[in-house]
Subunit: 299 residues, 2 copies
DNA sequence: ATCTTTACACCTAGGTGGAAAGTT
DNA sequence: AACTTTCCACCTAGGTGTAAAGAT
């Protein structure tokens, strides 16, 4: 007589996010290895929004890796990383005067920096694993009366596959990247936001999950293990009521990246220092903390 | 070095629901005891949408209790209670042809019926307590292309205060109702819904919380203990982008009630049979189940 | 050899009614 | 006497890394 199941599925914002993401799924690149998926409007825009300033590691084959590594905010003195210069589009898109005012800062920069120094790793599993640290951003310069969609995706940093050399505790290039996977967009479940909301409160992507399951049906972001990735945050201004992600041409958007959030996807942690930092900073991993490191006061 | 706190508060749909609810708060009645709160547009509409068919218990003083008890769906043969006839407005509001097509059914009718037979009680606490059973509804007849706001409120059934006579296991009238409390609307956090979403999936109000704290700052629904209440579900069609709950006149709405969801608010359960049914049917109360009632198979 | 998967103990986070103490 | 409040053990639900087993 326990009542938990129900004849109709629960209507959740997750379901909405998933259905949009599923609709928008497309090949991760436009190379010859591109999958059979059709390129949809937003995906086209997102692809074009990558930065024209190449990293040293870039190859001409790499459709995804055209990121600027020198994004503003790396040396921000405050507790958050301010990213006022988003990706410069390959096909230049000049943001409107209004959208150009928008700035986006990373709220958890100190923690990301600690991981970045060691070489951030993120676990990916078949059922999906959360990111830690979480991407948390706040916006300024938005129109408090307007409505915005905030979303995130994760794109390859280069065209390489890596392996970890335990004996020297460092990452080595292990060859060319595996074929790209269906690119998925994670639309923040609280979207659309009013500008007023965005000015008051930060946006947390804590619920986004990463998977290595190419056939994932949950809308999780699909990644290749042992590859390097860059998360990106996008904001789109809704110009009118009918405008959706499916006819993005009628809307304006901007893309922000935070280089300190680059990570390598793994199915098991490689660098023991990363494991230790995760255990010490993620509340859910408290059970693995070394109690011998307790201070006298804590003891 | 544990990272859970953050400089800016998390932007959650709860916060949104609360701010709207707070804005809409108003006196629970228009009697002389009415609070200092101003009557806002939606609240006016909602008040007017009560049913013109009086219950036997009604008094002329009772601005809230004008409900029809004979709502369609009580004798529904299916697993859910179909409520095609919502409250008849005191000031008649003829729904548009389009809105008139909308039907709303209660998904958890069997369980509600079990409680209703015994006399449903709901715990209210200072910090807020969930309802059990949960109000879960599904809609039909909505326009799949339109957008809708779905919300719920809880109104007094009569102008009485009750007490429970333990020696005869029944409720007695204990006098006139206490002064009405600020009426709050619980806007479903996934609002606005597309009609398509509403046709596919049910809407669950599992997160709504009830409190007896008149000064509650969390947006919970405030009730008087030992009073009888009727939950209501409202659906509003968004006519245009700018239309919000604050200028409801430009929108259309309908109200649905399910008489089997009437309950008495209590700070501790009165009827032991209600306690037993809660323990047996609410998964969170599993710890109180009598293991002596296990069957041979379960044992 | 080098990854990947699975079951698991150990957490966080928070929803239950009970029992005892508090209030009016 | 008739409620109300507080703290608690016991749950659900689900996020951690581990270790052993599995896969290629």
């Amino acid at each position: 007589m326990e009542f938990t199941a129900s004849p109709k599925p629960q209507l959740s914002s997750r379901a909405n996010a998933f259905s949009i993401a599923a609709l928008m799924s497309s090949g991760g690149s436009k190379e010859k290895e591109a999958t059979e998926n059709t390129i949809k409007p937003l995906e086209q825009f997102v692809e074009k929004s990558s930065c024209a300033q190449p990293l040293g590691e870039l190859t001409s084959l790499d459709a995804h890796g055209e990121f600027g590594g020198s994004v503003a905010g790396n040396s921000s003195p405050s507790s958050s990383s301010l990213c006022t210069e988003p990706l410069i589009p390959t096909t230049p898109i000049i943001p409107s005067e209004e959208m150009a005012k928008i700035a986006c800062s990373l709220e958890t920069k100190e923690l990301w920096d600690k991981f970045h120094e060691l070489g951030t790793e993120m676990i990916i599993t078949k059922s999906g694993r959360r990111m830690f640290p979480t991407i948390r951003v706040s916006f300024s310069g938005v129109d408090s009366e307007a409505k915005y969609i905030v979303l995130m995706d994760i794109v390859p940093v280069d065209n390489k596959r890596y392996r970890y050399a335990y004996h020297r505790s460092s990452w080595l290039v292990a060859g060319k990247a595996d074929p790209p996977l269906p690119a998925r967009l994670y639309v923040h479940p609280d979207s659309p936001f009013t500008g007023e909301q965005l000015l008051k409160q930060m946006v947390s992507f804590e619920k986004v999950k990463l998977t290595n399951n190419e056939l994932d049906q949950h809308g999780h972001i699909i990644l290749n293990s042992m590859h390097k990735y860059q998360p990106r945050v996008h904001i789109i201004k809704k110009k009118d009521h009918t405008a959706s992600l499916l006819n993005l041409k009628s809307e304006e958007f901007r893309t922000f990246i935070f280089p300190e959030t680059v990570f390598t996807a793994v199915t098991a942690y490689q660098n023991q220092l990363i494991t230790k930092l995760k255990i010490d900073s993620n509340p859910f991993a408290k059970g693995f903390r070394d109690s011998s490191r307790l201070t006298d006061i804590e003891r």
